[in-house]
Symmetry: C3
Subunit: 208 residues, 3 copies
Amino acid sequence: MIKADGESVLFAVDLAGTLLFAVEGGSAATSGGLDLLGVLVLAFATALGGGIVRDLLIGAVPPASLRDWRYAALAFLGGFLFFSLHRYAAGISPWVVLILDAAGLSLFAIAGTEKALLYKMPAFVAILLGTITAVGGGVLRDIFLSRVPRLLQSDIYATAAIIGSAVMILSGKIGLSPRWAAISGGVTCFTLRVLSLWFHWNLPRVGA
Amino acid sequence: MIKADGESVLFAVDLAGTLLFAVEGGSAATSGGLDLLGVLVLAFATALGGGIVRDLLIGAVPPASLRDWRYAALAFLGGFLFFSLHRYAAGISPWVVLILDAAGLSLFAIAGTEKALLYKMPAFVAILLGTITAVGGGVLRDIFLSRVPRLLQSDIYATAAIIGSAVMILSGKIGLSPRWAAISGGVTCFTLRVLSLWFHWNLPRVGA
Amino acid sequence: MIKADGESVLFAVDLAGTLLFAVEGGSAATSGGLDLLGVLVLAFATALGGGIVRDLLIGAVPPASLRDWRYAALAFLGGFLFFSLHRYAAGISPWVVLILDAAGLSLFAIAGTEKALLYKMPAFVAILLGTITAVGGGVLRDIFLSRVPRLLQSDIYATAAIIGSAVMILSGKIGLSPRWAAISGGVTCFTLRVLSLWFHWNLPRVGA
């Protein structure tokens, strides 16, 4: 276990994002009529799927989320919490959910980009892997639910992750410390996502 | 090629499960209206998909089922057999199919857990990988057929694999030989699956 | 970077196939009502998904298409071109599209087989990997669009790739140079695909 600064920040950020996304995966599974096992599997896939795909692509096997039991435990916990407490979830404002999701998106985009840079990937690939980390779990969740991934249809979602990851890498190249580069990328991703929701920004579409 | 005892038991068990699951994959493809190629692809995916995902996750590449042509040959044979002989399949009692499937599930859960242990995975991860080996092929089959994986919706299925794998690992920890640990895990998984079918056990579900 | 002859032919062939398949992925995404991001993702998945799966299976990580930015750039370019110019695409004869697609299929089947042979895979596995390279992207595209992969339902498509790849390997075994073996395999795949379209050849199907 490397105990460098970047590594431990990465770990804390990863755990926070994992719990957030697991709750969302559990929520999608519950709406889709799945049973408790389905809820746990979708919590796991949503929370850890993006990072597992990233780790497979850079050859970091077994993936981090299988080497350290705390990831899987948090993912299952998030799914179980939603399953047990979903009655109370109905009262929560949709904006709270959207803002927490934007936070999770930003945390995962940063963590994914940082890991890709630790593995000496070139900038272009690091942006791609940061984005896959951020949105891959949601894509897997939608595939399990047999629906076209939401993020391919509308909204500034993966786009916010791409731009946040790019800002993080550019900030590093112009001399910011890794920590401040990560913060500037994360804030960019989060702000862009929230603004796009507020102002109903969408990407162009044929015939729309 | 290691010729240890565990390895050769693993191999025989894997081949038996492969043929069983391939026939089932061929059956699902036929019901879904696929052509002969679709039947062979689904036989392959159902029979070998779980083990391939396991091998990718532990970094055992190329996966065992690609290194040894007998796996793929058996998978294609199973699909082809069903395709040629499906007329005679209609007369088979559904209970025979369910019990053979429970046997396949148990064989794959054991084989997957054993391989994870051979690769020095911690207990928690070995249970996860045993379960992925057992149910991953069925999940891939359902994704190819564009439907929500059955095992996420109801039934004690993956749950039986999880518990069987856990029993196998616990039996090993309390001192049983690898062979007896595998047998106790497999019998647990099989019994649990068959009992759950007989008594219509299901996992809890929201709103159900 | 190996600069052998086979390697550079492989590279040129890969790039041509990538652009062709990316345009097709963009076309499918546009028909499916996806937005610009969805078009780019499907162009990427269709063009590079098969090769990425092949590289994961043979342990060539990070996959070639992530190590060299030109693959991804071409894939995104192909998607963007279709998105911008789709108005002009309506006038193109479907036969032009089918023949270009048959060319892409043949190029990828050859490139995939050649890479598998470079990695010392046995003949049987090289055929499987050549076919996965050729059709894997289209399967991923259909999974993203939440539909049963077309190639599993009818048509001589993957079958042409299988036979083309087998012819390439046999030609090598009987003493043809790698270049002529590749050409004979590619021509076989292409001819078979085009003939099957012209004469409406299909694989057998249960109940059809």
